[in-house]
């Protein structure tokens, strides 16, 4: 229960922000941090709870963004109708990639590689066909009204992305407290033992990649509604895939709040480097890459891991838990 209260308290605190903050810059900072948290949480469900590290999560993101764009631009759908379909497309792509990779027992590095390759195939397809606007990309019509799922104010987008983040938080809370979540974490920790105890590892992992894909696609839906434009490189390029895995690794994978904490830390770091070094291209990503290496080197369980280790140490002074070297 305390976990649920925490999620709603967080939601209420962020929802109050537009009443106190009026600067567009600050609101945009909150929106982009929430957006990073959403992508991170989507990755975390499959990578952190399911133990399947994807290096190509952009494949779901881009599918969501393109489905949203194509349905509106080429078929004239209303955006409210297109959004759930776009998320479902993300889940469907997840079912396809998960279906083939888990059926053939791909794990670890092989799974990371195959997701990367799928993202690249989708990028080439989106770059080739006129249907998706090819290399030029796809622009949705600017029509800022709530009926059109576009908002005239930053606050509107803040509530949209906050809602999505709350859904993602509730999903991970459910993973922590449900039978299905226990199965998923059992498969992560030892697939053979889990299978021996009667867990259908294939179906458990398949469900995880579908949930993860749907949330990631929702991130794509948000992206195109907020920025009105998508192209193959933004949609399926390595940037989004890296962004998705960075926040949970920094915050703590397999935890409910890790991706949110990671997203906040990374945003502050990114802004800090921008303040120090100016807007030079690449600098903030150099910092992100270094953070990734240093986290894996020194804090493989993320920022949350530090506190968990400390709590465990305080509880049992002799216990040697945690983040040490295996």
């Amino acid at each position: 229960m305390r976990g649920l209260i925490g999620i709603f308290a967080f939601a209420a605190a962020v929802a109050a922000a537009p009443f106190f903050v009026s600067s567009g810059y600050a609101l945009n900072a909150i929106i982009m941090t929430l957006y990073a948290a959403l992508l991170g949480q989507a990755w975390n469900i499959l990578g952190g709870f399911g133990g399947q590290f994807s290096f190509g999560h952009a494949v779901f993101f881009g599918t969501g963004a393109y489905a949203m764009g194509v349905l509106q631009v080429k078929f004239g759908w209303n955006a409210w109708a297109a959004a759930p379909v776009a998320a479902a497309c993300g889940a469907a792509v997840g079912a396809f990639i998960g279906g083939v990779s888990f059926r053939y027992g791909l794990r670890g590095s092989y799974f990371a590689l195959v997701t990367l390759a799928f993202a690249e195939v989708f990028r080439i397809l989106a770059n080739t066909f006129e249907f998706t606007g090819a290399g030029v990309g796809l622009m949705i019509k600017l029509n800022e009204s709530a009926a059109n799922f576009q908002f005239a104010t930053k606050a509107g987008y803040l509530y949209l992305i906050l809602t999505l983040v709350v859904v993602a938080q509730l999903a991970t809370w459910w993973l922590k407290h449900s039978r299905y979540g226990a199965w998923l974490q059992a498969v992560r920790d030892n697939e053979e033992s889990a299978a021996a105890l009667g867990v259908n590892a294939f179906r458990v992992k398949l469900a995880a990649i579908m949930i993860s894909g749907a949330l990631m696609a929702a991130g794509g839906v948000f992206y195109i509604q907020y920025l009105h434009y998508i192209d193959p490189h933004i949609a399926y390029g390595p940037g989004v895939s890296v962004e998705a895995l960075l926040a949970p690794i920094v915050g703590g994978i397999g935890t409910v709040w890790g991706p949110v904490i990671g997203a906040v830390v990374l945003h502050v770091l990114g802004e800090g480097t921008r303040g120090l070094m100016g807007d030079a291209p690449g600098v903030n990503l150099v910092v992100y890459g270094l953070v990734l290496i240093l986290m894996v080197m020194f804090l493989p369980r993320g920022i949350i891991g530090v506190f968990q280790t400390r709590a465990a140490r305080n509880a049992t002074p002799t216990a040697r838990t945690g983040a040490g070297r295996a």
């Binding site: 195959v114 390759a117 390595p238 291209p281 150099v286 990734l292």
Partner: protein, 290 residues
């Protein structure tokens, strides 16, 4: 539908490109075979080597082919240091960690290049850049033929090191059974770092062969990294012969696929092969078992 006179040069072109792919993949497969890790920073390291060749030419006027004795030791040293003091330390013995650390290295290298050199695509001009050689009615550019011969020579040298020297024996011992190797007195950490160094040294050579007819920009490695993975997976992870054969197959597929489907879509053949091999034959064409 495809005339022989069109297909034949295309196949030849594919073979010459394939030789360079093979050289890049040899480094990757050596690192995988010995350390059992997938080096995601392989493409970024190739990019760094290409910049090295570029600046040696622009600033010191050193011909790309004469840069070989500089680039090979330099890349070897970089690889040795990275494995010994960064990747090996960070791994904590877990494969997932190594994946992430090499991904982090790739991000750092790529964006450092973007920061230092901007996103401009750079090429160099040599006297022989546009020289072509007629072969059985086809016209192939001279740098590509040099690259073909050079890549094969490097591959031969690598095989000789692996099978004829103590270092090669130590590397193969560590690849098979690292605990056993440690027990008989092999400095495993040193051998791992040597393997990583040799893996990157292959990239140093590949960069010298590529640069006269190719270009460099901060993201140039991305194109090669998935191709190299495809070749390694196709040939069987850790198999040298597999990497050579895989390189030629992929080179030809890319070249002929490009004729058929156009420049952009032609690339897709490579990834389809990649996914199919991963799914249906993860041990590769020449691998013993997965």
């Amino acid at each position: 539908m495809l005339e022989f006179s069109i297909l034949f040069p295309s196949v030849l072109n594919g073979l010459t490109t394939g030789a360079v792919y093979a050289l890049i993949a040899l480094g990757l497969t050596l690192i995988y075979g010995v350390l059992h890790i997938i080096n995601f920073a392989h493409g970024a390291a190739l990019m760094a080597a290409l910049y090295g060749v570029y600046f040696l030419h622009q600033l010191l006027g050193i011909d790309p082919y004469l840069a070989l004795p500089v680039m090979i030791p330099a890349m070897f040293a970089l690889g040795y240091a990275l494995q010994r003091w960064v990747i090996g330390v960070a791994s904590h013995g877990k494969d997932e960690n190594i994946l992430l650390v090499t991904l982090g290295l790739a991000i750092v290298l790529e964006n450092l290049a973007l920061f230092l050199f901007k996103s401009d695509t750079r090429t160099i001009d040599t006297a022989y850049t546009f020289t072509t050689v007629p072969i059985l009615g086809a016209t192939i550019s001279l740098p590509k033929i040099v690259a073909f011969a050079g890549a094969l020579a490097m591959a031969g040298a690598l095989l000789a090191v692996m099978h004829r020297t103590d270092l090669g024996r130590a590397i193969r011992a560590c690849a098979k059974e690292r605990q056993g190797a440690r027990l008989v007195g092999i400095d495993v950490d040193h051998v791992f770092a040597m393997s990583f160094g040799i893996g990157l040294a292959c990239l140093g050579a590949a960069a010298c062969f590529l640069m006269p007819a190719y270009y460099v920009n901060p993201t140039v490695g991305n194109g090669f990294v998935l191709i190299a993975f495809t070749i390694v997976v196709l040939g069987g992870m850790g198999s040298f012969i597999g990497a050579l054969a895989g390189g030629f197959i992929i080179g030809v597929v890319e070249s002929v696929g490009g004729l058929w489907l156009g420049e952009s879509l032609g690339q897709i053949g490579i990834f389809v092969i990649f996914i199919a091999v991963l799914l249906f034959r993860p041990q590769g064409l020449f691998g013993a078992k997965a």
